[in-house]
């Protein structure tokens, strides 16, 4: 009888320890915004088939052979406003060689505000402000701003969470070359 009680105690103890270990090692409590939940990195960049604010057709596919930074932003998002000069600097630095471009995709915004945003802050690249289409789910965007670096083969090689800096983009391009 004593031996059986001991066996039951051991089994219950092992199960309890296993459950506690599972709970402790699970990432339930971590902040999803701080942790990368994205599964897009390493995959072919999801298609963005839209018309930009200039009325030109835009396809991610058309950028094969060049680096492309897909930037999700909103005119009402303060960190997006803060990162904008960095995007302009990055775009300007690669304008001559043409080896890298930016596309900005507006999130929960209106085309009028987006056009005004670029008129005030500069930026000579394709801007998608088509409020009928939503590409943020395809890219698994969680918060703004978020940017995805697509290599010349069309693969997403890095995700930038929060405001991006020109030097960071260059570093990731060099790392993934």
């Amino acid at each position: 009888m004593k031996r059986r009680s001991m066996l039951i105690a051991v089994v219950v103890g092992v199960v309890a320890v296993a459950l506690i270990a599972l709970f402790v090692t699970s990432d339930m409590e971590s902040d999803p915004l701080a942790t990368d939940t994205n599964r897009i990195v390493g995959r072919t960049a999801p298609a963005i088939s839209a018309t930009d604010t200039e009325g030109r057709p835009f396809e991610v596919e058309d950028y094969r052979g060049r680096w492309l930074l897909v930037n999700f932003f909103a005119t009402w998002c303060t960190p997006c406003i803060a990162e904008h000069p960095e995007l302009v600097a990055f775009s300007d630095a690669h304008a001559k060689s043409g080896d890298a471009s930016v596309v900005s995709v507006a999130y929960n915004d209106t085309p009028e505000k987006v056009v005004q945003f670029f008129a005030e802050r500069g930026g000579d690249w394709a801007v998608i402000a088509d409020d009928r289409s939503d590409f943020s789910i395809e890219y698994a965007v969680v918060g703004l701003p978020e940017s995805y670096l697509v290599d010349p083969e069309g693969t997403v090689v890095h995700k930038f969470v929060g405001g991006v800096r020109k030097a960071e983009i260059e570093r990731e391009m060099a790392r993934n070359r």
Binding site: A18, T37, R39, A140, V142, G143
Partner: protein
């Protein structure tokens, strides 16, 4: 309480359990484009911008967008599994509130069932052991002398 009353009590309890199980097992629709289905699916997904809220209960931008996407996929005739997989494929398993039934996470589903099963078996064995002990004690406890006394008492003997 008589044996009959006890049986009626057990039967009433069984009926109550069956009714509760049937009520609990009532599932939301798994096809169509109803709000019931939309919110049932959204309720199975975590709002990644919020703390402790599902996509069904949140008004955060991402939750609103995810509900729009769910509705769009419902209109396209996708199944519940296909819709949940679509989100898990992009945001990872963490977006699902119900743990996966694969890999280490499957322990969350398996352990309670195994523990409940072991508990029932253990109780059954314990009850059987107690009943056996009580039977042994009862048969050991009555000596010939005791039995003679009982027999005499039943006969109404003046010796008792």
């Amino acid at each position: 309480m008589t044996a009959g009353q006890r049986r009626v009590g057990w039967a009433a309890m069984l009926v109550a359990v069956v009714v509760l199980v049937l009520l609990g097992a009532r599932t939301p629709p798994t096809s169509g484009t109803s709000d019931d289905r939309l919110y049932a699916l959204a309720g199975q997904m975590k709002c990644l911008q919020c703390a402790g809220e599902s996509v069904a209960g949140s008004q955060a931008d991402i939750a609103v967008k995810m509900r729009e996407e769910i509705r769009s996929q419902m209109r396209e005739g996708r199944s519940d599994d296909e819709i949940l997989s679509f989100f898990a494929d992009r945001y990872g398993q963490r977006v699902l509130l119900n743990p996966s039934s694969e890999g280490v996470a499957s322990l969350v589903w398996i352990v309670p069932v195994v523990a409940a099963g072991l508990g029932v078996v253990g109780l059954g064995l314990a009850f059987a052991a107690w009943r056996r002990q009580r039977g042994d004690a009862a048969s050991e406890g009555a000596t010939d002398e005791d039995q003679a006394l009982v027999a005499a008492a039943l006969r109404g003997s003046p010796d008792v």
